[in-house]
Subunit: 312 residues, 2 copies
């Protein structure tokens, strides 16, 4: 791929759309990598996937950096979500593969009065009369897993991603498979709403010791970080066991993982074994599944997952 040099930073929606349309008119494939910033190697791996997303044709890679308030509940960590725009821009420039960074100050229309109108959001986006009120729901995939403990999360994600799609108008968008449910939900939304966008799921990037990379890892103490290794270890062990023993029972495996996490000092949010596309729980591991885990270590909620293709 051609070196992209210093990416152009765009803050205005109309300017972003005009930029994309110019690139497309030049015959380029516009590829979007949506992020919330505080970038790590996992994000840079998404950028690398984006740079190679189009066989042969030149690409124009856009990384968006926007911490979306509507996917956080008021009880969650919006206020402490880490950020470092200058560092992010340096890292993106160093890849030589990013052509534009979309960093809008705000993506939502705010209302003119604080009374809240008819709808109560439940998210960190204040919904005043006249303000934002349109939400996208992916009704089956948003239920369960992270949807159980984060009831407004996927509504916020689906809505902000469709806004980014309509502003950036990409041909391709890249999502990390660490946020497995999010990736599947976006694929489903794209299918159901007929977005002309190809979605690429990019593999999880891990630290040398196995911890899945996450912007939230920075909030882990050294001791918590050590304990959190139990997540990836238990997932790898579970996969090894499932590949050795055909038709393993899900319940037994889920119990084992949960026990390992608890013994390490984690507080389990969920351990589920589900079909890869529908995210429907399975009783027996006799088809392609994914084990999804969410657990708290200290004040940090971590998620991770591992795909299993039995018989492969």
């Amino acid at each position: 791929m051609a070196a992209a040099g210093e990416p152009e930073v765009i803050r205005d929606k109309a300017a972003m759309r005009a930029w994309s349309r110019r690139r497309r008119a030049e015959g380029k494939t516009v590829v979007l990598v949506p992020t919330m910033g505080f970038l790590h190697e996992g994000h840079l791996s998404l950028v690398s996937t984006a740079a190679n997303a189009s066989a042969g044709a030149p690409v124009a890679v856009v990384v968006s950096i926007y911490v979306n308030p509507s996917q956080f509940a008021p009880t969650e960590d919006l206020a402490t979500y880490p950020s470092d725009l200058a560092g992010d821009l340096r890292k993106l420039a160093s890849t030589g593969a990013v052509h534009a960074v979309f960093n809008p100050p705000d993506l939502y229309v705010r209302g003119t009065d604080g009374s809240g109108g008819a709808a109560v959001s439940g998210s960190c986006l204040q919904e005043a009369a006249g303000g934002h009120e349109t939400w996208i729901r992916v009704e089956r995939l948003e239920v369960g897993l992270c949807g159980s403990s984060r009831p407004v999360f996927f509504r916020g994600v689906a809505t902000v991603v469709s806004k980014l799609f309509n502003v950036v108008e990409p041909d391709v968008a890249v999502f990390g498979k660490k946020d497995y449910q999010q990736w599947r939900l976006i694929c489903r939304m794209v299918r159901d709403l007929d977005f002309a966008i190809e979605i690429i799921g990019s593999e999880i990037v891990r630290e040398a010791d196995g911890l899945a990379m996450s912007s939230r890892n920075v909030h882990l103490s050294r001791e918590e970080r050590e304990k959190a290794l139990s997540i990836s270890k238990s997932l790898v062990n579970a996969r090894t066991s499932a590949l050795k023993n055909s038709n393993s029972a899900s319940q037994h495996m889920k119990n084992q993982i949960a026990q390992t996490l608890s013994e390490a000092g984690g507080r389990v949010d969920y351990v589920e074994i589900v079909e890869q596309e529908s995210l429907v729980p399975v009783d027996t591991i006799d088809r392609p599944v994914v084990i999804c885990v969410a657990a708290w270590f200290g004040k940090v909620r971590l998620i991770d997952n591992i795909e299993i293709h039995p018989g492969s």
Copy 2:
């Protein structure tokens, strides 16, 4: 405007999108007129608005014809909704202003099993596992007026319109102001989700005697049709009165309209006087409002409305 001749009939989503992109690459403004077919003079007026939607620049006008099952409740009239594709195509050709007709056999992904999955739709779209599950809600504007008696209607409308937007990728879309709440809701959805589409609201077209044109009028008996004239008459009288007497009380006016409709033999669904953009009810007519009415005459539910700009 240049004569468009016989419109091209397109049934496939990908072909439709490719058609639009070619027209846009030629420098044309793509204008969409979404309809459910059984076209009348009201629709042709939307086409005329579409043909003149772009000052100076050439337009490519697409009329979509698709009866959207997801906006009908199972108790409603999907099965008897009138259709006449051949007649529609003749009428559109006769305007000389329509370049393409998008008439898809189906717009939704259907599931592979009838069990229904986790979500129950409440609409005429059967939601089987693996099938369509993504819905757009405009949470304040979908409440009240037609939303009260048709709880799945606006969810279905917002969703199918966004699908049409993503398939046709228009620069402009034209909606009739007879469906006043629908028009305002689409404007809000476009704003909130950042669709790059200008929405034009086109004025109500009436029969010579004042009845607002509707595909459903065909189901009115001669007697019912006569009685239904009470709708437009009572709306015109209300506006005359409001313009004559400043700060009229809404309640008194709503009572009068409801009484007139009932005396004529109609069954009132609602009479409301609301702000034009927010659709919030007003007590006093001291700012721009719209009076919205829905009433049954026989087995036909009719809607109509009239805008009032006091002091103008």
